[in-house]
Amino acid sequence: MPTMAIEVTGDSGDVLRRVARRDGRALAQLYDRYGRLVYAIVLRIVHNQAVAEDLVQGTFLRAWNRAQIFDEHKCAMGPWLVAVVRNRAIDFLRSQGARDSRPALVYENEDPRLCAGLEDGILFAEQTRRAKQALDQLPEVQRQAIELACFDCLSKTGMAAKLGQRLDTVETSLRSALGGLRKAMEAGVAE
């Protein structure tokens, strides 16, 4: 199954500076670079094209309005956009009801200062391929737990209901899976 990754094109710092100066063409460039990725992620979460479009537009408008702050903090736009669109998707799902089955909103994810120092490279093809490979190598129950957390945006309670497992089993699976993925990615960085 093909996945999304961004291509290494142009100087993202320059694009960000121009977005901060309200250059509409720079926003177009930013969208051209990350639009497909952000759209694919949010569509996978909400399963609704019209909603996905609204959430993508809102995410890029948020970038447009806060570009000055990103530029100051040298924020990595890719990870930030992913974090924002995930938050917006979770917020949408929570608004649809059964809030207990959804994760909490984490506003620190959207703090440009905390995205500073993150490499855009985390979203390049090699990194996403490594993440997908590490995900595929997890035991089935752990992989399911991660997919329900990342793509279905379910809370532990929601996952337990979906998988028909006890809450503490889900907790253990999640922590084991995340530990394994962390190590796999760290090993990739160290290579």
């Binding site: 199954m1 996945t3 999304m4 990754a5 309200r22 509409g24 926003l27 177009a28 969208y31 051209d32 639009g35 497909r36 759209y39 694919a40 992620i41 996978r44 996905a52 479009e53 993508v56 537009q57 890029f60 408008l61 890719g78 990870p79 992913v82 974090a83 995930r86 979770i90 959804r102 994760p103 909490a104 909103l105 984490v106 620190e108 994810n109 905390l114 995205c115 120092g117 993150l118 985390i122 979203l123 990194q127 996403t128 490594r130 993440a131 997908k132 995900l135 991660i146 957390a149 990342c150 793509f151 809370s155 532990k156 999640l174 922590r175 995340l178 530990g179 993925l181 962390r182 990615m185």
Partner: protein, 249 residues
């Protein structure tokens, strides 16, 4: 809680799945800008982003880009189908005009080359005829105009089996509507036309009349200026007279 105790909870926190008290602890560490926790949290954000990027590929509709840019006041030029068709038609028309011009150019060039080839073929044929007349045994050479500065001068070569060739100089191009005509003058009887010709711009001329010639009954080779259609018999005084030597003299 210490940073070490929170180490395994950053990803859960970034996913919104951390429980209490870890959730409040991480938030507190980040609020007071704890460097170790900021670093761990950044790595967790990176992991979540990389995992999210493993979502199945999906292309957003083109209208989303236009909608986004319009919402910040950017109107990208969008040409509709009529404009595209008009541009295509203009392109086709330009191509037709261009290739039509090229085709005409090629046709003219082809015609010029065909003419050139025809001239060269004629010239080659004449050269072959001249070679035969000059090289075959029994040819007679007669000079004319020698010692007469105002008159055409040159030579006539007569081969009894292959024909007559005249090479002349100081023979200016014939006036408009007129042409030179060569004659074989017999010792008795009427002159026989040996073909019409034009001299070149440098006042030189080569004329060949193929076919057998009876030298014994021929008195001279002459050239007159005639009307363009030629004449059954010479109408004017000859400009060139190359008299054959009398036999036995």
């Amino acid at each position: 809680m210490s940073c070490e105790e929170l180490l395994e909870h950053y990803e859960l926190y970034a996913l919104g799945l951390a429980e209490e008290p870890e959730r409040s602890e991480i938030r507190a560490h980040l609020d007071r800008r704890c460097a170790a926790c900021e670093c761990g949290f950044r790595q967790a954000l990176g992991l979540v982003a990389a995992l999210s990027a493993a979502a199945p590929a999906a292309a957003p509709p083109a209208r989303l880009r236009r909608r986004l840019l319009a919402s910040v006041g950017v109107r990208e030029r969008h040409y509709g189908w009529p404009v595209a068709w008009a541009a295509a038609a203009l392109l086709c028309l330009s191509a037709a005009v261009y290739f039509s011009g090229r085709e005409r150019q090629y046709a003219e060039e082809s015609l010029r080359l065909r003419r050139q080839l025809g001239d060269q073929t004629t010239e080659l044929h004449r050269s072959q005829e001249a070679f035969v007349i000059l090289s075959a045994a029994g040819a007679t050479e007669v000079a004319f105009g020698q010692g007469q500065p105002a008159q055409p001068t040159g030579r006539v070569f007569i081969n009894p089996s292959h024909g007559v060739m005249m090479i002349a100089s100081r023979l200016p191009p014939a006036p408009a509507g007129r042409t030179y005509e060569m004659w074989i003058i017999p010792k008795a009887g009427a002159p026989r036309s040996a073909g019409r010709f034009q001299s070149r711009n440098d006042d030189t001329a080569i004329h060949i009349e193929p076919g057998p010639v009876d030298i014994a009954t021929t008195a001279a080779i002459a050239v007159t200026l005639e009307n363009e259609a030629g004449a059954p018999q010479p109408d004017a005084q000859p400009l060139i007279v190359a008299a054959l030597p009398v036999a036995g003299r």
